[in-house]
């Protein structure tokens, strides 16, 4: 359909009840036309087919994890539709301690993730507030320096950090993982929160100051409620990053006592031999929590992504 072809698109519904001049109507139609132009059934069809294709690998893993061992060893998951058997044995096997016990690694992941999300947020809130609302000499230079630190790849810091942790005698605790995730997350957290903070109108802050509010009161009463979306955006980033991380975990939490799910599942994959049943259920156990978090908080995640919060 070309612009202004004179055919009223079926979707037009914004026609006012008052009489509208012909010229106005035409302009409205044109606007509507441009909006609906691409929504052809063909495009919808192709888009949906592609989305389904994109999901097939994940669906395959999901189905595999519920198939009996004998079935999944000899036939592909698509045979499940004709040879329908469902079992939870694989999950039991992967979680129980006789097979490496992913349940305990799940706990480790949880224990690693929660502080590794909360600590950088609390520290970054302080820093972002100072960068946004406390004038001092060298503020811009310091902020640019913090921003620039985002480019330091984690790999560059690992060995010296490890030496520091060993010297502090921390190597058998969760502290190395918490601290390193905090450090790696800080530049992005400060950058994101600072961006959101500076968008808050100066007049609001100044009004509070005139009323006699100090930094702390401004911080908690005025800024915090406005910052919830930004905190949520970074929180989801950091959550996904920490929960899904492999490198930091391998280096700083190598003992079975500290090891998170990702490292355990990766190990399962390396030494798996023929244990496809444990690998499929184990992988799904490690995936499910981030998937749920992501699906329920997608809105904040996308917003953070678009605010330039992209972890390289």
């Amino acid at each position: 359909m070309t612009a202004g072809s004179g055919v009223i698109p079926p979707r037009i519904e914004a026609v006012d009840e008052q009489p509208v001049s012909a010229r106005k109507l035409k302009a409205q139609m044109r606007a509507q036309d441009a909006k609906t132009k691409l929504s052809s059934p063909f495009a919808s069809g192709v888009a949906i087919v592609l989305a389904i294709l994109w999901s097939i690998p994940t669906l395959g893993l999901f189905i595999t994890s519920f198939r009996p061992v004998a079935d999944l060893r000899d036939t592909g998951w698509w045979m499940w539709f004709t040879n329908f058997h469902v079992t939870l044995d694989n999950y039991q096997g992967a979680l129980s301690s006789s097979n490496g016990g992913l349940a305990s690694f799940f706990l480790n992941t949880f224990v690693i993730t929660l502080p590794a999300v909360i600590i950088p947020i609390s520290l970054a809130l302080l820093a972002a507030y100072a960068f946004a609302w406390i004038p001092f000499k060298g503020r811009n230079i310091l902020f640019v320096a913090v921003f620039a630190l985002q480019i330091v790849p984690i790999q560059v810091t690992l060995i010296p950090l490890q030496t520091i942790f060993v010297n502090l005698n921390l190597q058998n605790s969760f502290w190395p993982v918490w601290i390193s995730h905090t450090i790696f997350g800080l530049p992005l957290a400060i950058f994101l929160l600072h961006n959101f903070m500076t968008e808050i109108p100066r007049s609001i802050i100044e009004a509070a100051r005139v009323d006699g509010a100090g930094h702390v009161k401004i911080f908690f009463v005025v800024l915090m409620p406005l910052l919830i979306p930004a905190i949520a955006a970074f929180g989801i980033f950091q959550f996904l990053w920490v929960w899904n991380d492999l490198l930091v975990a391998l280096v700083f939490a190598p003992s079975p006592n500290l090891k998170p799910l990702t490292a355990a599942v990766a190990e399962l994959s390396g030494t798996k031999g023929t244990q496809w049943e444990l690998l499929s259920s184990g992988a799904f156990i490690s995936i499910i929590v981030p998937l749920v978090v992501f699906l329920s908080l997608q809105r904040y995640f996308v917003r953070g992504l678009l605010a330039g919060g992209v972890k390289g």
Binding site: T2, G4, R30, K37, L38, A47, I48, A51, S55, P57, T58, R73, T75, G76, W77, W78, V111, L114, I118, I119, S122, L123, L126, A127, Y129, A130, I134, L142, I151, V152, P153, Q155, T157, I159, P160, S173, F174, W175, T182, L186, V216, L240, W243, N244, L246, T262, V265, A266, W276, L279, S280, S286, P290, L291, F294, L295, V302, L305, K311, G312
Partner: protein, 341 residues
């Protein structure tokens, strides 16, 4: 210091969080009084972060750069033999470019560098093209949200998880037997022989790259979709009035309007694929000539003992050096796109 039981672990977690919340509270309490000099306030707010970043990022980075020029050599006595002190070989650190020259001259490392280039070029190009095409296709269709969520979903999956998902897809059984991997089953249905996707050098690197594209395409789509929606309607209308339709409208109007976003997406994905080692490590362990710099860094540093540390440091520095121009370009484009807003 080392927690073992469930209760201990949870307790220590809560304590850790409380410690930091208390630190923040203490700082706020200490500086929240009149007539405190400004520098104390600034130090209170910025001190913890500055210490963390200087000690945890800056100092280690400098240390690694220094170490990348070091090589451990055995100290030789006057007789030209190694010196043993209480059963241990005496060694010394030698400064030089040895680590770097090894990386650039040895065939194994050259292959690693070549693979890395393939990753850094192909992943962003493929993921961004697909993301852009999909963003245009899905724009203003029915079920737009659901379709986008499905393509975006792999972003939430860990790279380890994604690798395992694709290990199932690439699974190989001898020709003639029942295939359990979808990819080889499709080949069989088409009457072709099954392929050992993860071992068929040099194509196996390409098959690993596909996994990364699968992960990253959703990111490209989301950012570009938002950019497309932000193109003002009147620009599109004006172009349409001038007779631009379909492909022409896309290449001449839409793409130029979202160019800064495209560049940011390309560079971001390039950096991501440069640093990611999870896919290679989980799927092939770097075997069959699939290793990349990030994976080789890990192997050399943590699997080769002291001898590998210098090489590992040099590899990390190489990562760093490749990233710098990409980021600088990225920042410039971000500025441009902000100015356009």
């Amino acid at each position: 210091m080392s927690p073992t039981s469930i209760g201990e672990k949870l307790l220590i977690m809560v304590v850790a969080i409380l410690i930091f919340v208390a630190i923040v509270g203490l700082i706020l309490w200490a500086i929240d009084r009149p007539k405190i000099p400004n520098w104390v306030v600034v130090f209170g707010f910025l001190g913890p972060v500055t210490i963390a970043l200087a000690g945890g990022l800056l100092y280690p980075a400098v240390g690694t750069v220094v170490r990348s020029f070091q090589k451990i050599e055995n100290v030789l006595g006057p007789d030209g033999k190694r010196i043993l002190v209480s059963g241990k070989v005496t060694t010394k650190n030698v400064f030089g470019l040895d680590n770097y020259s090894r990386i650039f001259s040895e065939e194994g490392f050259q292959r690693v560098l070549l693979n890395t280039v393939a990753w850094v070029v192909l992943v962003p190009l493929l993921a961004t093209s697909f993301g852009l095409a999909y963003a245009v296709l899905v724009d203003r269709t029915r079920f737009e949200k659901a379709a986008k969520a499905l393509v975006f979903l792999p972003m939430a999956i860990s790279m380890v998880g994604a690798s395992i998902i694709w290990k199932f897809v690439y699974d190989f059984r001898q020709a003639g037997t029942t295939q359990t991997g979808l990819a080889n089953q499709i080949l069989t249905w088409l009457g072709l022989d099954p392929i050992q996707f993860l071992q068929a050098d040099p194509w196996n690197t390409f098959f690993l790259i596909i996994v990364m594209v699968w992960i990253q395409a959703g990111f490209a789509m989301t950012v570009l979709s938002a950019a497309i929606k932000a193109v003002p309607d009147d620009i599109i209308e004006a172009a349409q009035l001038d007779g631009a339709t379909g492909m022409k409208l896309f290449t001449k109007v839409t793409v130029p309007s979202i160019r800064p976003s495209v560049v940011v997406v390309l560079t971001t994905i390039a950096m991501g694929s440069l640093k990611a080692f999870d896919v290679v490590r989980t799927m092939t362990g770097g075997n069959f000539n699939t290793s990349v710099v990030a994976n080789e860094f890990y192997t050399q540093t943590f699997r080769q003992g002291d001898a590998g540390q210098g090489i590992g440091a040099a590899l990390a520095v190489i990562l760093f050096i490749i990233i710098i121009p990409v980021i600088m370009y990225n920042v410039r484009q971000m500025r441009l796109s902000e100015e356009m807003r």
